[in-house]
């Protein structure tokens, strides 16, 4: 499988970004990052193929035209300050799935707050092996390793937390207001802009690690035909391009903020936050799909666990833990 981005390549990007006002001679770059001139040339070509605008001047060197919107550690970390989530960043230009990588890193002992990023996923996935369309450098494909001290039975609230953090991050950077469909799909005008897949490795009484994977459609100029009716991007909704670096940094900071609130005060803040954002919290007519069975009901708010209270048509009330929730129009 693919390798994480070479640290020296990240330094090349950083060097060009820091010296964006001048032309950097090839040999100087090669010496500073410790590779041959041929490698510098090859990497510059690679970056150009990813849409990074680098001007080449024969016999003088290279200059960045625009600081690229890549999610490499050297470009993301300065935006994070003291944030514990994102202290360690593993970046890929291409990988199968950031969640798979993060689960493997977690099993190998990666610390709490480790973040795995990819510009492109060849096997981005949602629940039950469903695919997540992961266009190159247009979306944010991120997985966060958490090592909470919660009992495993309380872990599902983390999935709602991720949705709430995503909502706030998007609003802060773009001004766009996302709805949250239970438990955590991020929607704009009823279409999905963000999906979250959370995986846990745990024993009966102890969590080893939780990996929160988030796919966010940011600068997609169009969605594939078969997704157009159900998915959109921030750019399509807001009518402009957005800085992925800024949205990602805001997301990691919001995750950190709500994670601390959860650890300190329990699930109440997350539940309250979710209920204030989501149109699905109360009085929403929904269709519930479970195990290929269908039921209709009305939402009645969240349980402290994050379960969705539903009054079904037959009068039965239930706190929903699993199942697909769809709006009934």
């Amino acid at each position: 499988m693919s390798q994480p981005t070479d640290r020296r390549m990240d330094r090349l990007i950083h060097l060009l970004a820091e010296n964006a006002t001048v032309v950097m001679p090839g040999p100087k770059i090669a010496a500073e990052i410790g590779v041959t001139r041929a490698t510098v040339w090859a990497w510059i070509e690679r970056l150009r193929s990813l849409g990074v605008e680098i001007q080449g001047y024969p016999a003088t060197g290279y200059q960045l035209r625009v600081v690229p919107d890549l999610l490499t550690p050297s470009l993301v970390r300065p935006e994070l300050g003291e944030c514990e989530i994102g202290k360690k960043i593993v970046h890929y230009f291409l990988t199968g799935s950031t969640n798979t990588v993060a689960m493997e890193l977690a099993a190998d002992g990666a610390p709490h707050g480790t973040v795995v990023l990819a510009e492109e996923q060849s096997a981005g996935r949602g629940r039950f092996g469903r695919a997540w369309y992961s266009e190159k450098s247009s979306g944010i494909y991120v997985s966060i390793i958490l090592r909470p001290t919660l009992p495993p039975a309380a872990a599902p609230i983390l999935t709602l937390l991720a949705g709430v953090a995503g909502h706030h991050a998007i609003r802060k950077i773009t001004g766009l207001v996302t709805d949250i469909r239970w438990p955590n799909d991020l929607l704009i005008s009823g279409k999905k802009v963000g999906g979250i897949l959370t995986e846990m490795s745990a024993e009966l009484d102890r969590i080893h690690a939780v990996v929160v994977g988030l796919g966010l459609n940011v600068n997609h100029r169009s969605m594939p035909r078969d997704l157009r009716s159900i998915a959109t991007s921030l750019s399509l909704e807001g009518g402009r391009r957005y800085s992925r670096v800024h949205i990602l940094a805001a997301l990691l900071k919001e995750m950190q903020r709500f994670y601390l609130l959860l650890q300190e005060r329990g699930s109440a803040e997350v539940v309250r936050g979710w209920e204030s954002i989501s149109s699905f919290a109360r009085g929403k007519r929904i269709r519930v799909l479970r195990n290929s069975e269908e039921a209709f009901g009305l939402t009645q708010g969240l349980e402290p666990s994050g379960a969705l209270r539903v009054r079904f048509e037959d009068g039965r009330e239930e706190a929903l833990i699993s199942g697909e929730v769809l709006e009934l129009k």
């Binding site: 629940r127 872990a155 999935t159 745990a202 009966l204 195990n291 290929s292 699993s322």
Partner: protein, 177 residues
């Protein structure tokens, strides 16, 4: 998107529920404490009360053959009577079994996707750390791993079934026992 339930499937589901009720009634009537059957990839296992292995309690334990060897064509196929089940008292004492339990309330999934084969089947040899199933709650996918190496002797749940905290998922015969 999950597939829609066809009318035919719905009818079959109802039929199964009806048949299930009949089976349960029959089991109680004849004091059969354990029952298992498989039909069209649908497997059902019913346990009532405590299974006693002592010979003094003959007749309390029934164990039907796997569908693979004796296909059951209709749910109303006669169930072995306690008398004929005597010779078939389970050869594996339950105390040998290492039971793997669910750390969360959720839904049991036997495979990673609806199209994928199940992670494990009864009789499979498994390694410590091997993924056995997924328990899902609020889109948190909890991969349940084998705590020990051994052989899968029991799978207590069907795909898509709800699970309580601490509920038994698998019975494993530890390696070397």
């Amino acid at each position: 998107m999950p597939g829609k339930t066809s009318r035919k499937e719905e009818r079959q589901e109802l039929l199964n529920l009806e048949a299930l009720r009949e089976i349960v009634d029959l089991l109680s009537e004849r004091s059969i404490s354990e029952f298992e059957m498989e039909k069209n990839g649908f497997r059902i296992r019913i346990k009532r009360g405590v299974v006693l292995e002592s010979s003094a309690e003959q007749g309390m334990t029934a164990h039907t053959e796997r569908a693979a060897t004796h296909p059951i064509t209709a749910p109303t196929t006669p169930i072995e009577t306690p008398a004929s089940a005597k010779a078939e008292v389970r050869d594996r004492a339950p105390e040998n079994l290492h039971v793997i339990r669910s750390p969360i309330v959720g839904t049991f999934y036997a495979s990673s996707s609806p199209e994928a084969p199940p992670y494990v089947k009864v009789g499979d040899k498994i390694q410590k750390g091997q993924v056995l199933c997924i328990i899902e709650a609020m889109k948190l996918m909890n991969e349940i791993e084998a705590e020990i190496a051994g052989e899968v002797a029991e799978i207590y749940l069907q795909n898509g079934q709800p699970v309580e905290y601490g509920q038994s998922l698998f019975g494993i015969i530890p390696s070397g026992s």
